[in-house]
Symmetry: C2
Subunit: 412 residues, 2 copies
């Protein structure tokens, strides 16, 4: 079936999902969770086939690990679906409303987007996570995963479609694009009139391809080049603990810190203390920071622009909060930026002047994700400003509809 024909079917199914009551949609997720647990054998068998092919093709270990499923990971996918089912339903919320001077009654009501496209790399758990969030928010999900995870994704989608059928919703409401060619991906990104929103989950190559080809609306889940600024007014023990947490608690994720900026006044005290706390972390430091970090290599502008995603940290010394803000403005990716300070004015200025999805005062950047911030789950973290910024939960997969009620009103 062509990409467009598939798209038409998803679109038709989306109408039914949008009209289905919240309870039915949540029922699909709970049912899919049950099926995933009951039929884990089929999914794991498909995953085994993907893994065999991937190993034969020489995929690196980290990629194999992302691809691999086991009973524990399937259990966590099922738990995820149940958790999303239990979240509040954003659909139908009356966002605001008023009565106009002429008596016209106006409301803005939250409604599903329609068809949400997700294009992602080789984690098969994204298939159930993303489809679950789409259905929760009243949308159909049109999924395009990687070639290496095709069998796994097909098996997970089969489970989701059985759950849809069981609850009386059209199976096409979760559809996987099984053609994993580049041409089909480009066609997918250009399905205007079918995809109401496309969310990419992947690395730079995917984002670049999207920017080149996409003609459908999309929300970018981009890099996280996150900073921690240790202000002159910081509690140094707190700063040490926050920097260590932001860098090392889980270095491979987008809300981990990649650069620490230290105010010159406290650099002589703080930097040696920080280096001791970051044993095992490779420090790349600017010339001023290296005075207090004798073991550190020199940091280039490119280092300051890099999202390392491993145990490497760039370190710079700045003379003022202004300089810290300017550095973040130049090198940051608009994800999460933290300040450590006891100084109210410094905290307020940082919050106001730093332009990012999330600004954090006296806490680790690692808190910037959907579950920590109260969304329950997330389909991604938007680093763009339009539509959604920061963690995207079920609400971010909806839009509003104006409802205008009159009594024969005409405009004069």
């Amino acid at each position: 079936m062509s990409v467009e024909e598939l798209g038409r079917r998803v679109r038709a199914a989306a109408r039914a999902v949008a009209q289905a009551p919240s309870g039915t949609r949540a029922g699909v997720l709970r049912c899919a969770a049950d099926f995933l647990e009951a039929d884990s054998g089929a999914v794991l068998e498909a995953n085994r086939a993907d893994l065999d092919r991937a190993e034969a093709a020489g995929l690196p270990g980290a990629a194999l690990d992302r691809l691999a499923l086991d009973e524990r990971r399937l259990q966590s996918m099922a738990t995820g679906l149940r958790a999303v089912a239990a979240l509040a339903d954003p659909v139908g919320e009356i966002v605001d409303g008023s009565v106009r001077p002429n008596g016209l009654r106006v409301q803005r009501v939250r409604v599903p987007l329609g068809v949400v496209g997700i294009i992602y790399e080789n984690r098969p758990n994204v298939t159930s996570d993303a489809a679950g969030l789409c259905l929760k928010s009243g949308n159909a999900a049109f999924l395009r995963g990687s070639a290496s995870a095709l069998a796994s994704n097909m098996a997970v989608v089969k489970v989701l479609r059985r759950a849809l059928a069981k609850e009386g919703l059209p199976e096409d409401a979760v559809t996987l694009l099984e053609d994993t060619s580049h041409e089909a991906a480009v066609e997918f990104m250009q399905l205007r009139g079918v995809l109401d929103c496309l969310v990419p989950r992947g690395g730079r190559a995917l984002i670049a391809s999207l920017l080149e080809h996409a003609t459908v609306p999309y929300v970018l889940d981009g890099d996280g080049n996150c900073h921690v600024y240790v202000d002159a007014g910081a509690n140094l023990a707190m700063a040490e603990s926050i920097v260590a947490n932001a860098k090392t608690q889980r270095p491979g994720v987008c809300n981990a810190a990649e650069t620490v900026l230290v105010h010159a006044d406290i650099a002589p005290d703080f930097l040696p203390q920080m280096a001791r706390a970051l044993a095992g972390v490779t420090l790349l430091a600017d010339a001023r920071a290296r005075r207090y970090l004798p073991g550190a290599a020199a940091a280039s502008d490119e280092d300051f622009a890099t999202e390392f995603l491993d145990l490497t940290l760039a370190v710079g010394v700045v003379d003022s909060l202004d300089d810290a803000v300017a550095h973040i403005d130049r090198f940051g990716s608009g994800h999460s930026e933290a300040i450590v300070t006891e100084d109210l004015r410094a905290a307020d200025r940082f919050v106001r002047e730093v332009d990012a999805a999330a600004v954090v005062v006296n806490a680790s950047t690692r808190f910037v994700d959907g579950s920590e911030l109260g969304l329950g789950a997330e389909v991604g973290i938007s680093t763009q400003k339009l539509h959604a910024r920061g963690p995207m939960g079920p609400r971010e997969l909806t839009c509003v509809k104006w409802v205008v009620r009159g009594d024969g009103h005409v405009r004069t």
Copy 2:
């Protein structure tokens, strides 16, 4: 100066605008309004030069009319700026907030987008309207108007920049791209890292060019192929008045009706009555409607898909509300769709099932604009679902920032 260099300057200016208090930004608009009135001579002289060139180039009358300024139109631009200055400031609104179980305090705060790009055709009043809305919402405006209006736009921008300087804000916060070549427009649409949002205001050629070239985030202000559905349960006198208003009160705008769908049960009564009320309107009707509209020409699918923007109306007969919804789903552009009915269930179903920026019950589609719906003014009407849907006022030129406050919180 290159497009990119101009962009860098606007971006630097945007930081200052974003930090400026509401009163300062509103002051710029009031000051610009005063200057427009006081210095109308310079603007009108520039406009005269544009008009002379356009006449010599053989621009059609309607285009000349859109281009032309006079004292009355300048007055209305000044009044518009003062009205926008008086609106509520969306910047700083706390959208929502909570305290997480671990004590982390979380808020979402409304902040400016940054740099808003507006690309538009030859109405010079868009220059002050759009720049005013951008500044009101804390943004810098990077404007790209048409070649034919260049002198007029330069004169209006000069006024706006004088007002910025008077209030102590950088003049670059309103910048006109004076290179009106196609190449510069494409470069403009690809200014990632400079334009936080691009809003096109123009016809299909502009939208097509945007879809082809843009790599910056944008909000589409698309066509309005709007329908009025006259239900079996309609009050026919009300339906007649709403159809006449929606079609004829101002046929050249996007919220005017282009198609009327009439339920078969009332078609024999309503269609002749409607035809009498629409004297002077060309009716293109489907086969069933023509039984009651002997003077009407036959309507093709293409007619039903057309935004006429003049005194032409497509007319169809449908057997049910389902058929009306299906017709709108097929031919509508997602702008504004109205039902006329006294039947509560029909109204509720129409509101729920029609997928459009605005659904209207018992009122004219002509009410769907920013000022009628309470936004005060609009920068356009979005027919997409992401970010903004329907009329876009100052709030739609903002985004949110997550503010997370802890007391040394680290993630475990």
